[in-house]
Amino acid sequence: QGSRTIAVMFDSLQSPFWISSFDAFKAEIAERGWTMLENISNLDDSRQFQQVQSMIERGVDGIVIVQTDANAVIPAIRAANAAGIPMVHYNRPPAESDAKSVAVQADNRTIMRDTVTALVEEAKKQGGKYKAALLIGDLGDQNAIARRDGFFDVVDQNTDTVEVVARIATEWNADVAFAGLTNALQANPDINFLVTSSDFLHPQIEQALKVAGKWHKRGEEGHVLFAGFDGDEGGYARLADGYLDAVGVQNVFFEVDLTLNALQDMWDGKEVDDLLLDPGFVITPYNFEEKRDEMWGYLVWKSQNG
């Protein structure tokens, strides 16, 4: 097969999840002997659309896109359709439309639901009433919204165990998250149930909990039940160290492979499903040993720490 040029278009490289994904694409595309053109829209819908147009004009063979917005990406899909260039959405599906493309997705809401369920079960096991805080992502980001909804799906069913006392807007911004959590701990020193919508906020959370004197391992007095999302190296390390109780993991390498295979299949004229699911999984201390090899953060962590 001849050399292929692929446009990889991300909307940002804000968190380790995206950076690892991006690096994985780079590596995998090089592995397959293709060429990669990159474009990052910096969370700007219109710019991303223009970038897609530019890539179409450049005559790329395939487009991998992390769109900023599920609706706003539709004209871009149409443009790619019109040019006969296959397009795959990485990690986020587009809104419903007549435009043809393939999406690879981790079901954020479900994974978050499972994660919080695991945490609630832990809480029930230990007994007592829990005061919960949620770090919400950017309210303009669909994944953040889905994770928030997954959280509330569970806690709203378990009001007898968990009472939500703080919803902290982070805007996906580390210092906002830090200040927000610190303030929340100030208002509710008895918070003992904490969920973050992304693992990339762990350093800030650790710092805030330390300031509040609440950074304790599982089993120690004063431990805060704590769940993360994404499964990055920071999440892995804290899980391994015993500070985290559950992490909802999306499988980066699996999703990247799915994405590129889909492109290859479309070039080969094979039928590809519209939606390719990464089921994801929840990793907890109970399934740590068996699951950690599937956790991308562990692999990153291993490569960084020898």
Binding site: L13, Q14, S15, A169, A174, D175, A187, Q204, Q207
Partner: protein, 326 residues
């Protein structure tokens, strides 16, 4: 003897209006939540506003000569990334000094273009905003840069009973206050802000002073970057983003004029604390996160509105009257 109305219409009394506002905000939150009016929370607010206060102090120096520095947020990022990547193990003091030093150098680049090449400050610093963010991403390889553990300890530590970040902000405040009110350099800043041509005629080295102000602004930005990083443990690719607007807003909230010549060292610190207080109060009240930007925007608006009216009033009252009644 002055009559009561004369005393009340003393324009200096009006200067207290922002303080009254602050008190109102504080009283409101204290009534609304139990945890607001606690010593721990006050410390907490001060801790969280220290990096912004430092940043706003620098920004206001430039505003005083009717300049503006939009690159402070990007400067914070570059300073944090450079040190975090290349010398993570350095002692705390070196972190702080290096942060300042990097900021001073970047500030000098701004200053060079503004003063020597005579390009408008807005556009120089706007392009530096893009450029430096790009450089920061390059240095960090777009990855998150972590602060070393001893830096984190520093941000949690106290010196003479004062938490270190607050102490650093306090020292910055003292430095700027002494500079502005106590030195010939500082006084010439006000002259330049009022009328640069006139200042030149009066023999003030306008270029040199303006240059120094941009350099200092950069230095404060670098310091602020290190302080913030020490508090939030890491610098991601959005570190410091949009801080330039926050810093300017804080300075203006504290009564610094965007047109130069008016403002002091306490204003920006006050503004930073006010903004942080609102954020803090909203979280303590567990307000719907959707409402944060609305309320913050509204509070800034109201404070500036009142400040504008106050200025107009004090100008009217302060204008020496023609003595109609003998």
């Amino acid at each position: 003897m002055k009559t009561l109305t004369q005393r009340l219409s003393n324009p200096r009394l009006l200067d207290l209006v922002p303080v009254v506002l602050m008190l109102l905000v504080a009283v409101f939150f204290s009534a609304a939540t139990d945890s607001f009016a606690t010593w721990a929370n006050v410390k907490n607010i001060l801790l969280q506003s220290s990096h912004l206060a430092i940043l706003a102090l620098g920004a206001s120096l430039v505003l005083l000569v009717a300049g503006v520095d939009l690159s402070v947020g990007a400067t914070m990022y570059v300073a944090a990334a450079l040190i975090g990547v290349f010398m993570p193990g350095a002692p705390v003091l070196i972190w702080l000094l290096a942060g300042c030093g990097i900021g001073l150098v970047l500030g000098a680049i701004n200053a060079f273009f503004v003063v020597r090449v005579r390009v408008a400050a807005f556009i120089v610093t706007l392009s530096m905003l893009f450029l430096l963010r790009g450089v920061g991403l390059w240095i960090s390889d777009t990855k998150m840069v972590f602060a070393a553990p001893h830096l984190l300890e520093m941000s949690r530590a106290s010196f003479l009973g004062i938490p270190v970040p607050i102490l650093l902000a306090g020292l910055s405040l003292v430095f700027v206050h002494l500079l502005l009110s106590g030195t010939p350099f500082g006084r010439s800043v006000y002259a330049i802000g009022d009328d640069p041509e006139g200042a030149r005629r009066a023999g003030i080295p306008v270029e040199r002073v303006t240059f120094m102000l941009f350099v200092l602004c950069g230095g404060f930005a670098g310091l602020s970057g290190v302080v913030l990083m020490s508090q939030i443990a890491a610098a991601s690719s959005t570190f410091g983003q949009e801080k330039e607007f926050m810093a300017i807003a804080a300075a203006v909230l504290g009564g610094t004029s965007l047109f130069g010549g008016r403002g002091n060292a306490f204003g920006p610190v006050f503004g930073a604390i006010l903004m942080q207080t609102v954020q803090n109060g909203l979280v303590l009240m567990d307000t719907d996160p959707y409402l944060y930007p609305l309320i913050t925007g509204a509070v800034i608006f109201i404070v500036v509105l009142i400040d504008t009216l106050r200025n107009q009033l004090s100008e009217r009252l302060g204008r020496s009257p023609i003595r109609v009644e003998a």
